[in-house]
């Protein structure tokens, strides 16, 4: 290839001098570490105040311990359960159910969302049915699941999968239906079709939507976990809740609620990091 052919033709000057302004504005600045730490600390103020108010209201005798036990006694209940070796079991089995159900439900949601979002025929044939199934309050499946699958891990994971399925399915389906037609047409004009069109244009375009669907699905998974464990189980945080209700252990109930809040928030935060990465990469 000869060098003289590559000579740029005119025009570069003006644009090049204008570009730094536009380019500089865009790369979203990584926040300095101190700023980030400050944000986290500020976010902890309200929980700390709640803890303080909780402590004061119980220490002052405003609530009886049978109504609201003190923070210290909830901590003691946690230590007690750890020593009996039960707390880890409850947490691990619950997390395992959520992770399994979430994974199964999201994979199926992605497959169904892609099928109905991309295929006109599948859309016409199946969307009314899927819409009707989505309209069934998911707990209504419980009696059927118990009869068909029994009271075991499978029925719990299945219920959680149902909960995780619909948010992923819905966001992906709608996302694919709303991929910028202009982009798809341009790609088609350059000879892209079928799988190449899908992987080059349609899937990347829905990545941000998919991640918000996944976060919703994860929240739903925890919701359905507790529902499943409340109904029938011998382990897990939901079981800890019902069991403690029957034995009158308010301290353990509050412990279970706090654990659900912390673990749920942690898993959501992990997915949030993945989402931010995906949005930076694909949006």
């Amino acid at each position: 290839m000869s060098a003289d052919h590559a000579t740029p033709v005119s025009t570069a000057g003006l644009e090049a001098s204008r570009a730094p302004a536009t380019a500089g504005a865009v790369p979203a600045g990584r926040r300095p570490g101190g700023r980030r730490l400050l944000t986290i600390l500020l976010g902890l103020i309200v929980p700390a105040l709640i803890l303080l108010a909780w402590h004061l209201s119980t220490a002052s005798g405003f609530f009886r311990p049978s109504q609201l036990p003190s923070p210290a006694s909830v901590l003691a209940a946690a230590v007690d359960l750890v020593e009996r070796g039960q707390l880890a079991t409850h947490i691990l089995i619950s997390t395992q159910r959520v992770v399994l159900g979430f994974l199964i439900g999201s994979v199926l949601g992605v497959l169904a969302g892609a099928l109905l979002g991309l295929s006109r025929i599948a859309d016409v044939l199946l969307t009314p049915t899927v819409g009707a199934l989505r309209a069934v309050p998911s707990l209504a499946w419980v009696p059927l699941l118990v009869l068909w699958i029994g009271i075991n891990e499978d029925s719990k994971v299945t219920l959680i999968s149902i909960g995780a399925f619909f948010p992923v399915f819905t966001t992906l389906y709608l996302g694919l239906r709303h991929v910028d037609r202009n982009l798809v047409e341009a790609a088609r004009a350059f000879g892209l079709n079928g799988v190449r069109l899908l992987t080059t244009v349609q899937l990347p375009a829905v990545v941000p939507a998919l991640f918000s669907g996944l976060r919703l699905a994860l929240a739903q998974s925890w919701l359905f976990l507790v529902a499943a464990e409340l109904i029938a189980s011998s382990m897990g945080l939901g079981f800890l809740l019902t069991d403690s209700q029957q034995t009158g252990r308010v301290d353990r109930i509050i412990l279970a609620i706090i654990l659900l809040a912390v673990i749920g928030k942690t898993t959501d935060a992990l997915l949030g990091i993945a989402e931010r990465w995906a949005v930076r990469r694909w949006a």
């Binding site: 025009t11 570009a19 982009l183 350059f190 080059t200």
Partner: protein
């Protein structure tokens, strides 16, 4: 000189500029009860290597004509022949640049231009060609930028480079400079002429800007109602622009032609 865009291509030689023949093209839209004819009986012979501007009022079917040549739209009657063979489906011999850049936001400019490469190109040759095209449009230092990090004019130049990556026999431009500011538009017009001089491909340029057509085109096709009361646009005028490029924007010949073109488009008194 025609070799400018050939290096890096796996094709044995640069594709020749190809002639385009619109043969009795007709197209209407809508349901059978509410049919709206947009184009009827459009017959034009576009010579290989010429720049043909397509002028017309908004909604007259300029873009539909272009889309038929690209294979993005199927006419109801008639056909488009490129180099003597009819267009069926997306045509490899054409490349399109749209009014909007239509770049993939998650790709770099370089990766966006690479979308235009013909399927047959090898990875290394393709990459070399993309970099060369980015250089041609003056964006080689922005190869790794994302579309949202560059200006509208730069995005539009990327879109042009993507079209050129196809090594097209026919370059279809659908109001490519319409959304740009006046200064950038003039620079883009010059760029287009430079590229055309370097590789004289056939160019079909849809525009609503009479002056742009006068500056760039060898001939101007005006779409309009024609004589009679039939619905839909057809060829209402096909004029050869006098003089060779670059043309003096203020010449008397062009002034007369401008007035007559404007009055064809329904604008009088200019």
């Amino acid at each position: 000189m025609t070799a400018v865009l050939a290096p890096g291509s796996t094709q044995p030689s640069t594709k020749q500029a190809l002639g385009v023949h619109f043969a009795g093209l007709g197209r209407s839209f809508g349901s059978s009860t509410d049919r709206r004819t947009v184009l009827r009986d459009v017959t034009v012979e576009v010579r290989p290597g010429e720049i043909l501007a397509i002028l017309g009022t908004s909604g007259c079917g300029k873009s539909t004509l272009l889309r038929a040549a690209a294979g993005l739209d199927v006419p109801d009657s008639g056909e488009v022949l490129i180099d003597g063979t009819p267009v069926t489906g997306i045509d490899e011999r054409c490349a399109v640049a749209f009014q909007e850049p239509r770049l993939l936001p998650w790709h770099t400019l370089q990766a966006n231009v690479a979308i235009g490469l013909p399927k047959s190109s090898s990875a290394s040759a393709g990459k070399a060609k993309v970099l060369e095209l980015l250089k041609l449009v003056g964006l080689d230092t922005f190869a790794k930028h994302r579309p949202r990090e560059v200006s509208g004019g730069m995005a539009q130049r990327t879109s042009l480079a993507r079209a050129l990556a196809r090594n097209p026999g026919v370059l279809l431009l659908d109001e490519p400079f319409g959304a740009l500011d006046a200064l950038t538009r003039i620079k883009m017009q010059d760029l287009l002429l430079d590229i055309h001089r370097a590789q004289p491909t056939t160019v079909l340029l849809v525009t609503h800007d009479v002056d742009e057509a006068l500056q760039l085109a060898d001939r101007i096709l005006v779409l309009g109602r024609g004589e009679g009361d039939e619905a839909g646009s057809t060829v209402s005028e096909l004029v050869t622009v006098p003089g060779s490029r670059p043309r003096d924007r203020n010449s008397a010949d062009l002034g007369t032609l401008r007035s007559s073109l404007l009055s064809l488009l329904g604008v009088t008194g200019h």
